[in-house]
């Protein structure tokens, strides 16, 4: 796909959001991702509020990139993966630290993808890339629009390759993504950022 050719060279943060079915996609992508060039990956997935550690442990198991545990005011460093903890909203501060918030659920979700995407867009502007994966609600679309409005690039998982196409479809209809990518294409896309 010629229009999916990547030309992203100034990325500091790649933020990935997803809901039902998105873990499957990540489990296909992460094991083959061996190197990220000068940016951090932040993963925001919906899950049960009681699931404190298992998602992070699963990602640690499947990923070649080191996963840093998210604690309040932890610095966000290039070269690492960060996973939003359950039952908190994940936010970004100007001094490039992460902060957390337990305020009301947004789109029935905490963490909410919209909240993290919008907060990241405020801080990182055009050095932010957002990807929205599989899911069955509307969270993420507003956040993608915020990223795009702030000058960042946005990609959506191809609904045909998503377990739950509703969330990517909603984003395609409403957020005008720069890229629509299958799982294999997402892997290539991430690998080629900043190269």
């Amino acid at each position: 796909m010629e229009e999916n050719k990547v030309t992203i060279s100034n990325c500091k943060v790649l933020i990935i959001g997803g809901s039902a079915g998105s873990l499957n996609a990540l489990m296909q992508i992460l094991p083959d991702l061996h190197n990220i060039n000068g940016f951090a990956i932040v993963i925001v997935l919906h899950r049960k509020s009681t699931d404190d550690q298992t998602l992070e442990e699963l990602i640690v198991l499947k990923s070649n990139i080191e996963v840093k545990t998210v604690e309040d005011k932890a610095p966000l460093l290039a070269g690492y993966i960060y996973v939003a903890p359950s039952n908190y909203h994940l936010l970004f501060e100007k001094n490039e630290t992460l902060s957390l918030d337990i305020s009301e659920k947004i789109n029935y979700s905490r963490p909410s993808i919209d909240v993290s995407f919008e907060s990241a867009a405020e801080i990182y502007g055009n050095s932010l890339v957002g990807i929205l994966l599989s899911g069955s609600n509307t969270d993420g679309t507003y956040g993608l629009k915020a990223i795009k409005a702030a000058g960042g690039k946005i990609a959506v998982q191809n609904p045909l390759s998503a377990d739950m196409p509703f969330m990517p479809n909603n984003a395609i209809l409403n957020a005008d993504p720069d890229f629509i990518l299958t799982n294999e294409e997402i892997l290539t896309f991430i690998s080629e950022i900043n190269t």
Binding site: D52, E71, D72, P85, E93, L100, D101, I102, S103, E122
Partner: protein
């Protein structure tokens, strides 16, 4: 979203007009909260909102109530309460009298959770829980011990996951959509307004709980508050924070020993 400069103007004006200092609050969250209350109350332009805050004290109070986050639940993070039940309470139980401080208690759900655990450990009769919050409105709710009945299913699951063995519904009386917790629990609670930003230590405690409050503060204010807790904690006392909070950016770790991976530290020096 409001602009950064608008947020700073609001912070300045609130301090100038009312003496309340938001300047050390984490900006990402504060901005969201201000934005939320502005839209909730139908303001389109920031300057209209700002002048309402400046000149209408009642509205100012509402704004502060809405900005400060008051989301809480009973036995939030059951694994944490399980550890407190198994590892901390037996140690506290050796003392003739147990003083606890729950800082930033909001509407009190976690204070009642702690009282229930103290009761089950046979320690409530010799315990006193000081429960404080900056927000007077939430303290009124906390004093009453009345929570929405619809939450009780989730809370009783949390209670069981936290190692509770009793019938959870024996702790409250259900009526017209509310659950009123037994007065016996509240008898051992003292509620008062306390501002972690500006107030000082007021007693010495065997355990201080401050869960998911520090996340709203920047690193400087976190340091101040951790030092305030340090001054207020007896030797061998315990400090418990939220599951994603840490003291490591705030205080020399040689004074404290962490309980495994839990967000509980014991003061050892």
């Amino acid at each position: 979203m409001i602009e950064d400069i608008e947020l700073e103007t609001l912070i300045n004006d609130v301090y100038e007009y009312y003496g309340f200092d938001f300047s050390s609050y984490s900006r990402a969250s504060l901005k969201r909260r201000v934005n939320r209350v502005m839209h909730l109350d139908g303001f389109v332009h920031f300057h209209e909102f700002l002048s309402k805050v400046r000149y209408d004290q009642e509205y100012y109070k509402r704004m502060v109530d809405e900005i400060t986050v008051n989301v809480t639940e009973m036995f939030r993070d059951p694994a944490f309460y399980n550890i407190v039940r198994k590892e901390i309470l037996p140690l506290l139980g050796t003392k003739p009298f147990i003083r606890l401080w729950h800082a930033g208690c909001s509407t009190g759900e976690e204070v009642y959770s702690m009282a229930i655990m103290l009761k089950e450990a046979g320690l409530l009769h010799k315990s006193l829980i000081y429960a404080t919050d900056i927000n007077a409105t939430v303290l009124e709710t906390a004093k009453k011990g009345i929570f929405p009945l619809r939450m009780m299913k989730e809370y009783s699951e949390n209670y069981r996951d936290a190692g509770g063995l009793e019938d959870f519904s024996s702790y409250y009386i259900a009526n017209y959509g509310i659950a009123k917790f037994n007065d016996e629990l509240a008898e051992k609670m003292v509620f008062s307004q306390h501002n972690l930003v500006s107030d000082t230590s007021f007693n010495e405690f065997d355990m201080i709980l401050c869960r998911n409050v520090l996340i709203y503060f920047d690193n400087n204010l976190q340091k101040r508050v951790i030092n305030l807790f340090d001054e207020s904690l007896a030797l061998l006392g315990f400090l418990a924070l939220g599951t994603k909070e840490t003291i490591k950016y705030s205080i020399g770790m040689h004074k404290y020993k962490q309980l495994d991976k839990e967000k509980i530290w014991r003061k050892i020096k």
